[in-house]
Symmetry: C2
Subunit: 120 residues, 2 copies
């Protein structure tokens, strides 16, 4: 927990003091940056990325997802929960079957942006 920008015994002296102070003042609250990291953490697993990636094409049910990705139903279900909790996917029920889809275009954009970087 930080409560001051004051200099004390050599703090903030390596670079021009003003620059460091300015950067410090413009930093968003820790919680925001923590949330941002948490968001990326969700994208940072290959099973989840695969789920999100195929959902860019079409909605899919749990069983089909499992087969497409070649992982167990349990594993997919666990990861779908993570995606659900983070509001990256939504779902609708049709009888026994539950169809998952991307919850909005942000997800699509984030993945595309990442793809651009990877393809280099």
């Amino acid at each position: 927990m930080r409560e001051s920008n004051e200099n004390q015994s050599g703090m903030f002296l390596t670079l021009c003091d003003d620059t460091v102070k300015r950067v410090y003042e413009q930093m968003p609250p820790d919680e925001i940056l923590y949330d941002l990291a948490e968001l990326y953490k969700v994208f940072g697993d290959s099973t989840r990325i695969k789920i999100l990636y195929v959902l860019m094409e079409t909605e899919l049910c749990v069983g089909d997802l499992a087969q497409l990705l070649g992982v167990s139903q349990n594993a997919v279900s666990h990861q779908l929960r993570v995606l659900k909790n983070n509001k990256l996917v939504k779902f609708r029920r049709e009888g026994k079957i539950i169809y998952y889809s991307l919850s909005d275009d942000h997800v699509r954009r984030i993945i595309s942006q990442g793809m651009d970087h990877v393809k280099e």
Copy 2:
């Protein structure tokens, strides 16, 4: 390792078969999706996100980074190595001091995109 899209004992039958098959065929190779997940994994740690975030403003040396983020020099150094290995930051030496900065605008764009999603 998957070698066929063939149906065998109830595979790909839940949804319209063609849809699942089409999605399967359009999936990028596993390696690409794995790399994509790896990229996001790098962003998915609060120390690293903080480093990247402050580097959007200005280049900074290791010591200043440590003080700004309130973590030890060791920790910052370890994380800078991860960022370096993934080509998200670059650095220049000036005597004893090493200044780190973002390696390109992709990084900036990815973070901004994520921020948009978090701020909702």
